[in-house]
């Protein structure tokens, strides 16, 4: 028996719908970009795929668009849950209400087709990175403050030790105290400039 020609094949035997997922997605994107019947067939030939009639191409677009839309709704909830888990795993306390709002926003964006799951995952990781960066900067500031304090204490300690070594001469001691205060004062000003 001869193979049915593309013109007489019914919608249920549409060869485009039987293609692997990746190829179906490609054809869908080409059609969405405005490729016509001829252009689609040229691209199918390039990929060593059988040609399709205009009717098959149109019916493929309608059916695949529906399938894709329904899959998107299903995936939206899964992806929103995944984003919440990712954020929850991150160190730090994020209130449950914030997480629920984030999940709902992710779901709404994906379900309405305004953003893909990948976009939202990227935004979430950017948000987490920014948060991490902010925390690192604050930790660095704290470390710098500690360093200044330690340096000041060390200076004071060294000078005190030196003072103890001075001969019991009140005027020399007084001059030394002045120098010490001057030096400590300068250290404080240096901290302000830094």
């Amino acid at each position: 028996m001869n193979e049915p020609t593309p013109a007489v094949r019914s919608a249920s035997t549409n060869p485009l719908l039987a293609l692997p997922q990746g190829q179906k997605e490609n054809i869908f994107i080409w059609l969405r970009e405005g490729s016509d019947h001829e252009a689609i067939n040229i691209r199918l030939r390039e990929k060593n795929l059988p040609p399709a009639t205009e009717r098959e191409i149109n019916s493929f677009f309608t059916q695949y668009a529906q399938e894709r839309w329904h899959n998107r709704l299903g995936r939206a909830a899964v992806e929103a849950d995944a984003i919440i888990s990712q954020v929850r795993q991150d160190r730090g306390q994020i209130p449950e209400a914030t997480l629920a709002a984030l999940g709902q926003e992710a779901f709404s964006q994906i379900a309405s087709g305004k953003a893909t799951a990948e976009d939202l995952a990227r935004y979430t990781s950017m948000f987490l990175r920014a948060r991490e960066h902010d925390r690192s900067e604050r930790a660095l500031d704290l470390q710098t403050q500690k360093f200044h304090l330690a340096r000041r204490n060390a200076t004071e300690k060294a000078l005190d030790a030196f003072a103890r070594e001075l001969p019991q001469n009140p005027s020399a001691l007084q001059a030394f105290q002045q120098l010490k205060n001057q030096l400590l004062d300068q250290t404080d000003h240096l901290e302000e400039y830094e």
Partner: protein, 94 residues
């Protein structure tokens, strides 16, 4: 005597079928809220087409039977819907 096999007549009540389609769309959304416009667009991707008025009636009936819950999103002001636990149980075989 040969036993007769009774075949169940297909369910044809259009309003009940529409309510089943709504439940089927909301089922994968789990506990998330789906806005009415997206629900309307999703319904109309397949035949028979559904008017906004019919959808609203179906939603109201499902809500009255406590299969659906709704809210108005404070930011977008959109009406959003989701299945209640009994709605999820009802939608299980769909």
């Amino acid at each position: 005597m040969k036993p007769t096999t009774e075949t169940e007549a297909p369910y044809t009540d259009p309003e009940a079928l529409l309510q089943a389609r709504v439940l089927k769309i909301l089922k994968p959304c789990l506990s998330y809220w789906l806005d009415e416009q997206t629900l309307y667009l999703t319904l109309n991707l397949s035949r028979p087409p559904v008017t906004r008025a019919r959808l609203e009636t179906a939603l109201r009936e499902l809500r009255d039977k406590a299969y659906l819950d709704f809210r108005v999103d404070p930011l977008s002001r959109l009406t959003e819907w989701r299945l209640t636990p009994s709605g999820h149980a009802l939608a299980q075989p769909l």
